[in-house]
Symmetry: C2
Subunit: 200 residues, 2 copies
């Protein structure tokens, strides 16, 4: 007598989106059906297309529509360097620096025991295999400097040590352009501890 079943199903389905509760899902469903049917149709098609086309690169694990992504296939990258990041977005951020010409491995997540994501959920054995292929000389850990990112970096260090692969971590410190007044004490303490010699 109240909500038609197809609308009910749509509201329910929209709840798969993170951060969308029952009220928001209802609002989104009404909006799509009342104000933007073209957008709704496009979204349905884009979802189907992406579900069909997207998989993980067999080498770097990022999203790709081919077996191995363009970057991994490119001969122009330094194959001795492997930078480990949490997400494809992080990888794009690194690329925008134009400061790195090696290859990547995208974890597609982070070790996060509270969310039930451990080393096996992240398939870290695939990273180990990738790093042990003979070409990689240095693994650069570029996970976030959050608790989970640090735990992940620690775990990876343990996993990779004693394998004649150098393991490094990108530097922490005061951001470029940063004023000490506005930097948090933790970052500042780290910047002290990891200070670099300039002159003797």
């Amino acid at each position: 007598m109240s909500t038609p079943s197809s609308l009910e199903s749509l509201i329910e389905a929209l709840r798969c989106l993170p951060g969308i509760g029952p009220k928001s899902a209802q609002r989104l469903a009404y909006y799509l059906m009342q104000r933007d049917r073209a957008g709704a149709r496009q979204l349905a098609e884009a979802l189907q297309l992406a579900l069909g086309a997207l998989r993980h690169c067999q080498r770097c694990n990022t999203f790709t529509e081919t077996d191995i992504c363009e970057r991994c296939l490119s001969g122009k990258r330094d194959a001795s360097l492997l930078c480990v990041v949490e997400t494809p977005v992080d990888m794009n951020m690194m690329e925008q620096t134009h400061a790195y010409s090696g290859l990547y491995y995208v974890l597609m997540g982070r070790v996060s025991p509270l969310d039930g994501i451990g080393p096996s959920e992240l398939k870290l054995d695939r990273l180990l295999e990738r790093a042990s292929d003979g070409s990689v000389q240095e693994v650069i850990l570029a996970t976030n400097f959050t608790n989970e990112g640090e735990v992940t970096a620690h775990y990876l260090t343990e996993m990779l040590k004693n394998r004649s692969i150098r393991v490094s971590r990108i530097a922490r410190g005061v951001p470029v352009g940063g004023e000490l007044e506005y930097v948090d004490p933790g970052t500042l303490a780290q910047a002290f501890r990891e200070r670099r010699p300039l002159a003797e």
Copy 2:
């Protein structure tokens, strides 16, 4: 070299959702493709289904999968009363009160000049036609007490007057269980103005 095109399209398509900007769309797309492909599939199917099945009731304008919705077809409702609400959600709210047994008309929006929604966008002539079918004796305006809702109510009053149909507005005042201390001055002023006599 960076984002696969199907992923790019998905990110773009997710932006049709109100309140979702480029960063959120990216986050949602990665989440769906990495963590909840089943949810993504369900969402795509629910969208397609709803797009195919949902239309507007020819009498009350709410979402329905049939020409005329169950409520309008029901013989148990008082056909002399027509309650005008902005959205199907509002209609559900009214139903939950069990205080009303008449029929409804759902505007599917409100007059909102700033958003380019005027009387013709709301197809108010359909409401006029519905209210003039001979059976309706009173139209109860239950649009929101927001600026847009009040403007809509005002517009509808003008449209419906001098047609030998009673037009009324649901009451404003202090909410049931409300403490005066926490009621805003506007509501309180209205409660004064619309006070009801109890004893002489």
